[in-house]
Symmetry: C2
Subunit: 318 residues, 2 copies
């Protein structure tokens, strides 16, 4: 099978077709109509076997997660998803794998209404690079740089589940069967907090998605905003599955340094806490206050008022 | 060195910074301001060692060509380049390679004024995926689908040089030293026909860039436009370097099937030939009439009025 046929069969005319796609896959470029009065948010992530996912990860989950991690970047800017390109590198043409990959990819693409507008296929070690485009009113975009001293620090959802899910898959940990399913599900199919991000427009002073672990990712906010923070580790949102599998002490470690949660961490000035409550409760988003921005430049971890010393740092490539 | 530091050192704040980049590399997404009254053209290409380039290709040329092949897609739509993302997969962090790669990349990025707005780095076999964004007034975009019966077929520049350059690099062919330098240069540093593409707005009825070879690529125009074509192979523009290295007969074969020329093939209705001459001559673009669109569905090759049978077909991956 030739490259052109692969693209035509699996990618041309598949997935949701937005009205603002003037010309889809199949020409030298796609053409899309940007919204008036919005800027375009652009992000690019590579998802590679061996580095970002295990070789036995189900293909449908690879499809789902390869887009989810990119959508998470749009969510953390408060942007609405619009279009994406897909560069797929595969060791050989395995139609069963491709079919399942596309099922997972289009499932999440449909849910968030993002159109595939371009792509390329190459032979090589399995790897997926997706570039997403979203849209957001310029004045409403959530960056890492706006946190002010005294702002409260929040996270969505629960933290640490994905990292324990990975440890279970690696055979480093075990859990009861129901918990195991939940934790592996959190690792394979993270939920990009799209609605949360859009609900934080005009409310949050800064936002970031948690891909490398809270300790590692919050540093980007502190550096960009030129502030410090205190995080109360006893307030971190932990799932029952996480606590019952590893106990509270280890659960906190997973939550602080585990990575791949793809939850949002965001800061809100005290004057906007009422608006936050109204907006996120209306959207049905779970969120938890976990700390406060400080005047220093450092990250301080506290447990019941005492300094907390973590055992490990955030996960990094290379 | 950590991933974040690579990105910061080589990609954040480097290359041309356009005014429409509201927020550059360094947050979860970049933010860009689209132009009023234009649509966005999007294209994505992977450039992988072993498949798309030889392992001993100079890093600066890899940088240049990895962007050039993407810009060529924008050119063939008549779009102006605007922004790009870069996903770089490298076997190890080789700072000398990276530095030269960036020199080549930013050289062409500066020339065409395209801003790097996002990226990702991963460990693995060397491979580059670039997604480019350009802008074009919707009614002016050049697609593959507009060729009409009787339209004249043109190509820019000369054809076949790149493929002979590759054969010289592979040791399959040889050439005199001056020709060799030219031909290898055409292979390593193709010229995206950006100005030609923009000059064809409102004039050409269809356009495509020649990446896989004329015989292969023109089929996309014929299929999309539901027409046929006759190409007069004796009219194909051939460089002196190509002819003097392999003779006219082989030169025609290189021009028909060689691939990687990244010249434009376009069609123009007879009524617009005057406008074409004025526009492309003003822009200083070399172009040659090579055939005509026919009412059939087939591609016919002719040499001095007789049917020409080519020896090989276009180059394809997989």
């Amino acid at each position: 099978m030739k490259e052109f046929q692969i693209i035509e069969q699996y990618f041309a005319g598949q997935g949701p077709m937005r009205k603002d796609v003037v010309l889809g896959v199949g020409d030298d470029c796609a053409l899309v109509q940007p919204a008036d009065d919005k800027v375009i948010a652009i992000s690019c992530d590579t998802f590679a076997e061996g580095t970002h996912f295990l070789s036995d990860m189900p293909a449908a989950d690879v499809g789902f997660k390869s887009l989810a991690v990119n959508l998470s970047d749009l969510a953390s800017m408060g942007a609405e998803p619009a279009w994406m390109t897909l560069a797929l590198t595969l060791p050989e043409i395995d139609e069963s794998w491709l079919k399942q990959y596309c099922e997972g990819l289009y499932e999440i693409a449909e849910y968030y209404n993002i159109s595939l507008v371009g792509g390329d296929t190459t032979r090589g070690a399995r790897s997926i690079t997706i570039t997403v485009n979203g849209q957001v009113p310029e004045s409403m975009a959530l960056t890492r740089g706006g946190a002010g001293v005294g702002d409260w620090v929040y996270v969505t959802g629960t933290l640490g589940d994905s990292a324990l899910g990975l440890d279970i898959l690696l055979g480093n940990r075990d859990a009861e069967s129901e918990n195991k399913e939940y934790l592996i599900g959190r690792h394979y199919r993270p939920t990009p907090r799209m609605l949360a991000g859009q609900s934080l427009r005009g409310i949050a002073s800064s936002a970031i998605d948690l891909s490398d672990g809270l300790i590692s990712d919050i540093q980007h906010v502190l550096k960009s905003s030129e502030v410090g923070a205190i995080i109360n580790v006893d307030q971190l949102p932990l799932s029952k599955a996480l606590i019952s599998s590893v106990g509270q002490e280890q659960a906190i470690e997973y939550a602080l340094a585990g990575g791949e949660d793809y939850e949002l961490l965001f800061t809100v000035p005290d004057a906007k806490v009422g608006a936050l409550t109204a907006s996120l409760n209306y959207a049905g988003v779970n969120y938890t206050r976990v700390g406060q921005i400080t005047a220093g430049r450092d990250l301080e971890l506290s447990f019941d008022g005492r300094t907390y010393v973590p055992q490990q740092n955030g996960f990094k490539h290379f």
